[in-house]
Amino acid sequence: MWNSTHFWGPVVNWGLPVAAIADTQKSPEMISGKMTLALAVYSSVFSRFAWMVTPRNYLLFIMHLTNCGAQLVQITRYVSFHGGMSNLGKMIEMEFNQKSPAKENEN
């Protein structure tokens, strides 16, 4: 078992929740909103994947559950650092308008 990718794959992936938990102690400026959200959704889908695959991979399953939780914690830190959901919405809208100034001139 110790020789197989079925074991080492999930072991290496534990780096993701561990990195996230370590990052909770750092400034929320370091959080990439896109990547954290993508990781949270990804881990929730893959918890099921790990359960349904043959052979069933419990280690991977637990890891993805943990990661989903850890990424959600980072998301709440990110949202509160950027002034809450409404502020974030404005930020995203501003970024969007910056990328297409022609549209804003139209208005």
Binding site: V18, E29, S32, A38, R48, T54
Partner: protein, 105 residues
């Protein structure tokens, strides 16, 4: 085989859209897209731990997807790109750290 029955067999396939074996690889591309979106993120704001894990795990999972049942080539491909993105970001962080050292020296 008619088009209808072909669609039906795809729809009902063990790796078809009714199963997680279909959606999981699609989902993993979201990590690649997020990674690409972060390519221009300033290097001092990148998380070393996160990028290291993405790089190493992406490359390991590229192989895992080829030895599970059912084999999952699309998932293997997306893992490869996750790994590649992680390696690239690590290189950026390394370059940044080196340039910082030069300024301090």
């Amino acid at each position: 085989m008619t088009t209808a029955s072909r669609f039906k067999s795809l729809w009902n396939s063990p790796v078809g859209p009714k199963t997680v074996h279909f959606w999981a690889p699609l989902m993993k591309w979201a990590l690649v897209i997020a990674g690409l979106g972060d390519l221009n993120r300033p290097a001092e704001k990148l998380s070393v731990g996160q990028q290291t894990t993405l790089a190493v795990s992406g490359l390991i999972w590229t192989r895992w997807c080829l030895i599970i049942k059912p084999k999952n080539y699309p998932l293997s491909a997306s893992n490869f790109f996750v790994g590649l993105c992680g390696v690239y970001q690590l290189a950026r962080i390394y370059k940044y750290e080196q340039s910082k050292k030069k300024i301090e020296a």
